[in-house]
């Protein structure tokens, strides 16, 4: 039986690893914020990471744009979209990935799979901070947070809950401690990033407030497609956070901080 050792949320800003490497003015704050999450993450000693993310039109575009998808290859390299980031190969817990795919389909979710994939900056950038050297095997779980129509927040929460409800039998990839980490990448609501266009700072405040209050139901109710669209050109990425929140019991985070100028949030919900 798998054990969920926590939920963790961080941004995947592709510039941050480069800024830190270059000693940019924001480097110290970036390292402090990622470090706050990483301390909880490493203390949880995960055997693997479920990484909820949104492909940024790099893998899913011409052929198919799935609402949900799981990467089931043995490994994947990246970043496919930012050659400036040091390229790395990330192992995938392929057996568990296929198990989760079958489980969620049988639970009523229409989930695609990708059997050959590259990872984009949405995974590679955050691993530079959380696991700069060796990374546990991951299961990349893609939620369409960018290409309308988006799945509803309710649906994403239910998807996360379906994953959590998995009996997680003796999957071949499971490590000896039988721990399962539910990691997550993403910003809370994407505004005012260098890359983004229609900021809504009050939405960042609202999201962070609801996260801090453990009011997931209210967050889901307010995260309408219209609200996410108003929040910026990647505002739908909040859906990845919501799917992740479906995998853990509602609780106040042990760590929560925000970079309002970027619309980025950092949070950790280690299991008690």
């Amino acid at each position: 039986m798998a054990e969920t050792v926590g939920g963790f949320g961080v941004p995947h800003n592709p510039h941050f690893p480069l800024w830190v490497a270059d000693g940019a003015p924001a480097a110290a704050e970036i390292e402090r914020l990622y470090g706050g999450v990483a301390a909880h993450l490493r203390a949880a000693r995960p055997d693997l990471l479920l990484v909820f993310t949104a492909d940024h039109y790099n893998m899913f575009f011409e052929t198919c744009v799935p609402i949900f998808a799981i990467g089931v290859a043995e490994s994947a390299a990246g970043a496919s979209d930012y050659p400036q980031l040091p390229r790395r190969v990330v192992p995938i817990a392929a057996g568990l990935a296929r198990h989760l795919h079958a489980h969620t389909v049988r639970a009523g979710f229409d989930v695609g799979i990708s059997q050959e994939l590259e990872l984009d900056h949405t995974v590679i950038a955050l691993l530079a901070f959380l696991f700069p050297d060796d990374v546990p095997p991951i299961v990349p779980v893609f939620v369409n947070g960018l290409i309308p129509p988006l799945p509803s927040a309710q649906r994403c929460l239910a998807f996360g809950r379906a994953i959590a409800a998995d009996g997680a039998p003796a999957a071949a990839d499971r490590g000896p401690r039988e721990r399962q980490l539910l990691a997550r990448d993403r910003r809370a609501a994407d505004q005012r990033d260098l890359a983004h266009g229609v900021p809504a700072p009050e939405w960042v405040d609202r999201v962070v407030g609801l996260l801090g209050a453990a009011d997931v139901d209210r967050l889901v109710a307010e995260a309408t497609e219209e609200r996410l669209a108003e929040a910026g050109n990647a505002g739908g990425e909040l859906l990845e956070w919501i799917a992740m929140l479906g995998t853990i019991p509602p609780a106040r985070p042990a760590f929560l901080d925000v970079q309002p100028e970027f619309g980025h949030a950092y949070a950790a919900w280690p299991a008690p």
Partner: protein, 89 residues
């Protein structure tokens, strides 16, 4: 006409350095060579760097931002953002 052609062009800008070079060298020719073909009003908006208009036509914001990221068609990230905001103000 479909904004898919605009979205696809933006995506290709990320992954095809030769397209970025072609857009810098002769933007009109590069846009007319795009497949699927761009409509005339899409070409006009792209040549003008009018991402606000393209946004109003239904092109994807995130993909449009790649034009600013790669600084093609007279765009950069600040003017991309300004034009998107202005279009929806």
């Amino acid at each position: 006409m479909s904004v898919y052609a605009v979205n696809k062009l933006c995506r290709r800008v990320v992954h095809e350095p030769e397209l970025r070079e072609a857009l810098a060298r002769d933007p009109d020719a590069a846009l007319r060579a795009a497949r699927p073909p761009l409509a005339e009003d899409e070409i006009a908006a792209l040549l003008a760097g009018d991402v606000g208009r393209l946004s109003r036509m239904g092109a994807n914001h995130f993909l449009l931002h790649q034009l600013g990221r790669w600084e093609v068609l007279g765009l950069d990230l600040p003017n991309y953002a300004e034009r998107i905001r202005a279009a929806w103000r």
